[in-house]
């Protein structure tokens, strides 16, 4: 009987090992461990054995049953794992297919430039001042040392509404208004906004464009303060390695007046097509506030001095991003605007 038992065990284990699937394994379980199986039969047949052999045989049968059961369970686990793996294999997807697009828009490039400039000057303690786009001749010209009849204020260059009202030609009237409103208080402002000139639209001209200007007024503001401020700005906006240089220029509302160049951010100063081989790029105009301007706004020019600067976000964007035609900024082609959707750092 022992022999019979051993044979049964080997037979069962072999069948377990051979079982290719859960179903066949279950058939093996039923065949060997089921109520009609050989092991059960053996246990039933134990009654025919002598009483003293029964415990021994019982133990033996149990060992065989446990061995078979354990083996069955192990195999079952293995088969289940295999089944899962097969299922997962079937679920495999092509991860190279594109994801579901997230609907996102972005800033217009001019806003991007303007906000960058605003943020730098805000960090330096400036407020952002805005004013009307339709201005009085007084604020647009007269208060800025451009009296009536001054050659620089040709009717042909401006969009007049009436003799005394026009579309502002620069954001400088915001400075004049701020000075008039602050009545002798120190000022630190940055003024972004739309401006208008009587130009035919072409690749480099636009009848509407953007300006951003800054104004600092206080006691003993020096030209060196202007230079220091602009140098910091140039580094922040165009890169840590940027150098600046000032060149004499002329604006009616500043004296002395200067233009600021920055060392070319494309070639670093060795000369390229961006800087027209000079190594320098003209970025902004600036100067010390003209005493007449201070005086007209009610500031004593012997006590108060100041500096002002102004630049064109279109020009900066054109230089930075290589945009060749100013009209792109106002055509609003989605294929243009959507390119400005990512960080530059």
């Amino acid at each position: 009987m022992e022999q019979q038992l051993e044979q049964l065990k080997q037979e069962a284990l072999q069948k377990i090992e051979d079982a290719p699937s859960v179903k066949e394994l279950n058939d093996v379980r039923v065949a060997y461990l089921g109520k009609k199986g050989p092991i059960t039969d053996l246990l039933k047949g134990m009654g025919k054995l002598p009483a003293e052999e029964r415990p021994k045989m019982g133990a033996l049968v149990n060992v065989v049953r446990e061995t078979v059961t354990t083996s069955l369970e192990e195999k079952m686990e293995l088969l289940e794992q295999q089944a899962v793996n097969e299922k997962l294999e079937k679920e495999t997807i092509d991860i190279t297919l594109p994801g579901r697009p997230v609907k996102l828009g972005n800033h217009h490039p001019l806003t991007r430039v303007v906000e960058d400039i605003e943020d730098f000057f805000i960090s330096m303690g400036y407020e952002v001042a805005e004013g009307p786009e339709v201005e009085q001749d007084y604020y647009n010209f007269e208060a800025l040392n451009l009296p009536k009849g001054h050659p620089a204020r040709d009717m042909q260059d401006s969009f007049y509404i009436t003799e005394d009202v026009l579309l502002r030609t620069h954001t400088s009237p915001v400075q004049a208004r701020t000075m008039a409103a602050k009545k002798g208080e120190p000022i630190k402002i940055i003024c972004p906004g739309k401006v208008y000139r009587r130009d035919s639209d072409d690749a480099t001209h636009s009848h509407q464009f953007t300006q951003i200007e800054g104004l600092v007024v206080g006691e003993d503001i020096r030209m060196s303060d202007l230079k220091g401020t602009l140098a910091l700005f140039a580094k922040k906006m165009f890169g840590e390695e940027r150098e600046i240089r000032l060149r004499p220029s002329f604006f009616p509302f500043t004296e002395p007046s200067v233009e600021m160049d920055i060392s070319c951010f494309k070639c670093g100063g060795s000369g390229c097509n961006v800087c027209k081989k000079t190594g320098w790029i003209e970025i902004l105009g600036s100067g010390m506030v003209h005493p007449n301007v201070l005086e007209m706004a009610g500031y004593d020019p012997t006590v108060f001095t100041g500096f002002a600067f102004g630049m064109g976000p279109e020009r900066i964007a054109m230089l930075k991003y290589g945009v060749e035609d100013i009209r792109h900024f106002f055509t609003n082609d989605m294929r243009f605007i959507s390119q400005f959707n990512r960080t530059e750092v």
Binding site: G125, E127, I221, D225, P248, F250, M334
Partner: protein, 803 residues
């Protein structure tokens, strides 16, 4: 202003400095040199030739076979110019020569005849056509008889020259003359300026016996000088003079006219030459024109004058438009023998006005309108007299006829070195300042620690201390200015709450899928009020450049839609744009329109487009409404905003809503009217425009967190069949009212219109969430409350409960 470095050399020593370096120095000191033009660039092997014979080419009508002496030898050159002739000295480009534009001269055969080079026009040497004397404008250039064959033609023509093109700022009118440039360059290089020596022998006869002068318009003409020169022989100017004029971009005419132009360029003082005999009356009267008076100017245009324009007359009729252009009736011509040279100071404003009125700008008027040097008016007349005597054989009559009430005083400016240094943030020593001013030839005296400066009248831009600070700083060098930051109390900078929230609005809209557009404020009259939330009288330009840009907008939508059409026309089917900007309404007390900040958006095409998983969804009303609801949520205004059905011009009558803030309309949203869509070549398109100023003026409530729920909520669904006209919004209001405090939330989860409900009806399903923050609700409580909701619906809406 074109500055010939060769000409400049007459007044200031620039030897040893390469033109490019000189240009850089000038630019850094204050006058921008725009371009450097090397006139001999690319030119080689170009010599003087003498045409010994010239015969027609047997095979070609238009060609001539010339035997040309080019120094060592005589060569055959075929020439097609109509004006070539035996006996001429010409410009010969010999084989191996290079011309501008890379053209290379080679030995060639033209219709069987050998040509050993080319006879050149000035244009072929790179001279601009408009500066070539008319006699040679259409053919080859003929050199003077004394030119030596075989010698370098370039130096003879002054083409061995480098021109600096100045981009002058309006304050530097002093540099509109070679002498002015010489002062500037002299200061930069620490060199003296050599002024022309004016010497000539005057006749015994007196100018005043030949000519009478009366200035009636003294304000506009405070100084007038006339010199009379007899026995002038009008001819071609010497080549050197013509070369200088051409270098400056001026076309040579004859010696008299050329001399006036030369002196204008040299001194910056415009001159005019009259034919004395053609003046006829021996008299000059300067007065204002009478309305309707006529003059034919040098350009042969008859011009009708307006009252107030300053004219030079012969006592009877105008002979010149003062400072702008001479008259044809008194023009110098080949037969002229006696010349009257006019040098005058005309008031800048008067010249500017006349020049603008008649639409004529000349080298003279551009200088006069900026104000010429009062102390050079007389000198320039003398210089012209001298040159007429030297170059035109003229006999200068003694003295001049003049009127002079012009203020020629210089402006005295006193400033302390400390003042200069405090403004600049520098420590420039006083003697350095004195030295700089002296280099500029600006009279200065240092006394009692002050600089006493007499600004020369040639520098009209020097008026106040700051002007001198600029002079000192620019020549000391802006590179020397240190870098500092403003001292003094600093205040925190920042954005106003409006500006901050406007940034928030932009960022939100972009995260919601919209791209920022910037469109023009100027539009056409027809579009100016389309879609406007509020209309008021439009703001119109006095002189628009075109009808399309003649009026300021009262809505952002027309241009946003234009941009949408632009994109769609380029096969960008899905467009989602927004803009923040101002609209312009009416006129306020200060004469300016009211400017109101708006935000507008346009969407068209597919909103969801995930093609390979077949997820596509067109834009619809609720996409736009969802964006706006999200915006209101972001601004903390959800509780204060409602939507009511509305109709607006240009919008779909069944798919348009007003947006109300605290019950006041602040905006609109809806579908573009199908007829508008068709007109604009758009498919289904949704738009919104909101008064941003009103929206952002409303403050959000303080943000205090609500406890995260600790007790469960319970949901109940209701399905109703109602008439199609019944608004979900009003049903939700009924539900909310009846649900009371325990009803936390109501959402629509299904809408059905179709076969399974009766005609004219729809089925709407709501999900209601009941909740109490302090305890778990019992079933009975919820049932009681829910029954009240159902009863209210039945009573107030006539809704039939479904399923």
């Amino acid at each position: 202003m074109y500055v010939s470095t060769k000409w400049l050399e007459n007044y200031v020593d620039t030897k040893g400095i390469a033109p490019a370096d000189l240009a850089e120095k000038i630019t850094r000191a204050g006058i921008e040199v725009d371009t450097i033009i090397d006139r001999s660039e690319g030119l080689t092997n170009i010599v003087v030739g003498h045409v010994e014979s010239c015969e027609k080419h047997p095979e070609a009508d238009k060609l001539n076979i010339c035997q040309v002496n080019v120094g060592e030898e005589t060569v055959q050159i075929i020439c097609g110019a109509p004006n070539v002739a035996a006996g001429q000295n010409i410009i010969a480009a010999l084989p191996g020569a290079k011309l501008p534009g890379g053209m290379k001269i080679k030995k060639a055969k033209l219709r069987g005849e050998v040509s050993n080079g080319m006879i050149c026009s000035l244009q072929e040497l790179g001279v601009e056509g408009k500066t070539v004397a008319k006699a040679y404008a259409e053919g080859i250039y003929v050199l003077p008889a004394d030119a030596k064959p075989g010698t370098d033609a370039l130096s003879l023509l002054g083409l061995d020259d480098v021109i600096l093109e100045f981009d002058l700022t309006p304050n530097r009118a002093d540099a509109l003359s070679m002498l002015g440039v010489a002062y500037e360059v002299g200061a930069i290089l620490s060199q003296d300026v050599k002024l022309p020596k004016i010497e000539y022998t005057a006749s015994n006869e007196k100018a005043e016996d030949f000519l009478k002068l009366k200035v009636e318009a003294k304000e506009d003409n405070p100084m007038y000088i006339a010199k009379v020169v007899k026995n002038v022989k009008v001819a071609e100017s010497p080549l050197w003079l013509q070369n200088y004029l051409m270098a400056a971009g001026v076309r040579p005419h004859n010696n008299v006219v050329d001399i006036t132009n030369f002196v204008l360029l040299e001194y910056g003082q415009p001159l005019h030459a009259f034919d004395y005999d053609r003046l006829a009356t021996k008299e000059i009267v300067v007065r204002h024109a009478v309305e309707g008076e006529k003059i034919t100017t040098l350009d042969d245009v008859e011009r009708t004058l307006r009252a107030g324009q300053l004219v030079i007359t012969n006592g009877k009729e105008p002979v010149a438009l003062a400072g702008v252009m001479g008259g044809a009736n008194s023009e110098v011509y080949d037969g002229t023998t006696t010349v009257v040279i006019e040098s005058a100071y005309f008031a800048p404003a008067s010249v500017r006005k006349t020049s603008k009125d008649v639409g004529l700008r000349s080298d003279a008027s551009t200088r006069l309108e900026k104000g010429v040097d009062p102390n050079r008016v007389a000198e320039a007349a003398e210089r012209a007299a001298q040159l007429l005597s030297e170059l035109a054989g003229g006999e200068v009559l003694a003295g001049s006829v003049q009127f002079d009430e012009l203020n020629k005083e210089s402006v005295r400016i006193i400033l302390s070195p400390d003042y200069v240094n405090r403004r600049l943030g520098m420590k420039i020593p006083m003697d350095e300042m004195v030295s700089i001013l002296e280099r500029l030839q600006i009279p200065v005296e240092a006394a009692n620690g002050q600089l006493i400066v007499d600004a020369p009248t040639r520098r009209q831009d020097l008026r106040i201390k700051e002007d001198l600070i600029e002079e000192i700083a620019r020549l000391y060098g802006y590179d020397e200015i240190p870098m500092t930051l403003p001292i003094g109390e600093s205040v925190p900078g920042g954005l106003s709450s409006f500006q901050e929230k406007r940034r928030l609005v932009r960022r939100y809209l972009e995260s919601a899928g919209l791209y920022q557009a910037i469109t023009y404020s100027l539009t056409s009259r027809a579009e100016s009020q389309s879609f406007a939330l509020e209309t008021a009288p439009v703001t119109e330009l006095l002189m628009p450049m075109s009808e399309d840009r003649s009026v300021l907008r009262q809505s952002l939508l027309p241009h946003l839609l234009e941009a949408t059409t632009y994109n769609v026309a380029r096969r960008i089917d899905t467009v989602s744009l927004y803009e923040t900007g101002s609209v312009f309404l009416g006129t306020q007390e200060d004469g300016l329109p009211k400017e109101v900040g708006h935000v507008a958006a346009v969407i068209t095409g597919k909103w969801v487009n995930h093609a390979w998983q077949q997820e596509n969804k067109k834009v619809d009303f609720f996409v736009m409404k969802g964006i706006i609801e999200g915006l209101m949520d972001t601004l903390g205004l959800t509780e204060k905003v409602t939507y009511t059905k509305a109709t607006h011009d240009g919008l779909h009558p069944g798919r348009t809503a007003d947006i109300l803030l605290n019950g006041e309309v602040v905006g609109v949203l809806g579908q573009l009217h199908p007829s508008e869509q068709k007109k604009r070549d758009l498919k289904e398109t949704y738009v919104t425009e909101i008064n941003l100023a009103l929206l952002l003026a409303e403050s959000a409530e303080a943000l205090v967190y609500e406890q995260v729920p600790r007790y469960p909520s319970m949901s109940r669904d209701i399905a109703l069949v109602v008439s199609k006209d019944e608004a979900a919004g009003s049903l939700m209001e009924i539900i909310q009212e009846a649900g009371g405090k325990l009803l936390k939330d109501v959402t629509v989860f299904d809408l059905y219109e179709g076969d399974k409900v009766d005609e004219g009806m729809k089925s709407l399903a709501f999900s209601l969430t009941y909740f109490d923050a302090d305890r778990t609700l019992t079933d009975e409580e919820v049932v009681t409350r829910h029954d009240k909701v159902l009863a209210a619906l039945k009573e107030k809406s006539g809704a039939v409960l479904r399923g």
